[in-house]
Assembly symmetry: C2
Homo-oligomer: 224 residues x 2
DNA sequence: TTCTAACAGATTGTTAACAATTTGTGGTAT
DNA sequence: ATACCACAAATTGTTAACAATCTGTTAGAA
């Protein structure tokens, strides 16, 4: 692995953001993080620099690092970027998907449904995001996959900020996308994917946001 | 400004990469950088972490940081990602372009032509990239603009590695794209943009690459 | 000559101490 | 009661020293 110590911090925080445990605006105090990860502040500071470069953390001089708070304009841009990127990802997926890939997708769908029916919302959120990342993996373009990874994390922040109560990918939409991919019906798959993304976007509603005062350590401890 | 010291280092190195002064594989020694920027190594290390997150620097444990060396597969992915992103950027540009924007584009084209005819290759490279970034600015999607910024820098590295001698955006192609935008002809503009990007990609040819032994300080000193 | 091993120098990695800034608290005056 | 100021605590920012690792050179043996 690359620089294990720092990468662990980065991954841990990214996971917490993706899972909507860490919410927009939460302060990421250096001391708290270096305590939690049993490392020194230099590691934490570099990890925070990395996270800031990924645009999921904002750095305020002399005030510290905070989980990014996307503006409504940024939210709009993120969704448009997702449509642009996932259209190409979807096309790649349709063209590259092997039977084994279709199996992986269907297995994933089943897990999603189980989590949803079992009322396991945190897991449903994670798997819902995982579906989109799985498509990107099948599409076999690492650059687009990486950008989608970033965008889905920012989407998590946006939904946490502006989403109505139960905002979540409808998994019957996921299922229909898989059907279209399995049939090799590119037009249909891309149409469904685009509509799906627009549905997610429609589920958000801009409103005033409150300052965040969550306690960091308990949030991070909840992670896998 | 955010964290001036570090951001200066990051911007300086990004500029050098975009301008093809810093080539793939060049070692970025911490001491050399902290000497050049008159700062301490902690700043340099955080700047390098940021650059690594942007995928233009690779970090090898205990060996140091190097300008990234994109593989042929990565190059292919970068170009496909550019087509995906710039298609949406182009559409936004056609729809949002004001007469003032068209003026800016035409002014830019003139500067490009001057640089090219005057044999000023470094400036031609910078302006050629600038054209694409200007389109992104007119498109008014900050997320896509940022990704394009990253992708154009990676394109610079790719062309530096695998480009045939005079690989450069043909500026008559740029001019025709501007014409289509000025006419509001979206289909034509997007078609031309896509073809333009494919032409750039066709100008590269994968071959073995040599280890790089450039001297960092003189490269950075050449920057604006 | 060629290969190996040991050493010295240079570079990266880690840590702790100190400085500067902000934040919260308590007291005082209006 | 409220506004304001001063002080203390906490947090971020900066720096230097030290440890670990790698690189290149030199000497010696096959």
């Amino acid at each position: 692995m690359d620089r294990p110590q720092e990468d662990i911090i980065v991954e841990h925080i990214l996971d917490a953001i993706a899972d909507q445990r860490l919410r927009a605006g939460t302060k990421l105090a250096e001391q708290a993080l270096s305590d939690f990860f049993s490392c020194n502040r230099a590691h934490v500071r570099r990890a925070l620099a990395t996270l800031a470069a990924h645009r999921v953390v904002e750095h305020k001089p002399n005030r510290g690092a905070f989980v990014a708070t996307p503006t409504p304009e940024e939210a709009r841009d993120v969704f448009q970027a997702r449509r642009a990127i996932e259209t190409t990802i979807g096309r790649n997926a349709v063209r590259n998907a092997t039977p084994a890939d279709i199996d992986r997708l269907r297995t994933h769908l089943a897990e999603e449904q189980t989590a949803r029916q079992g009322g396991n919302r945190p897991r449903a959120i994670r798997l819902s995001r995982g579906f989109h990342l799985l498509l990107a993996q099948i599409g076999r373009n690492a650059v687009l996959a990486h950008y989608l990874d970033e965008l889905t994390m920012r989407t998590s922040l946006i939904i946490g900020l502006y989403g109505s109560g139960g905002t979540l990918c409808a998994d019957d939409e996921h299922a229909r996308i898989v059907d279209a991919i399995a049939e090799g019906n590119e037009t249909e798959a891309l149409e469904l994917l685009d509509r799906h993304l627009r549905h997610i976007e429609q589920g958000i509603e801009f409103r005033e946001t409150r300052p965040q005062t969550d306690i960091l350590s308990s949030i991070l401890a909840a992670g896998g």
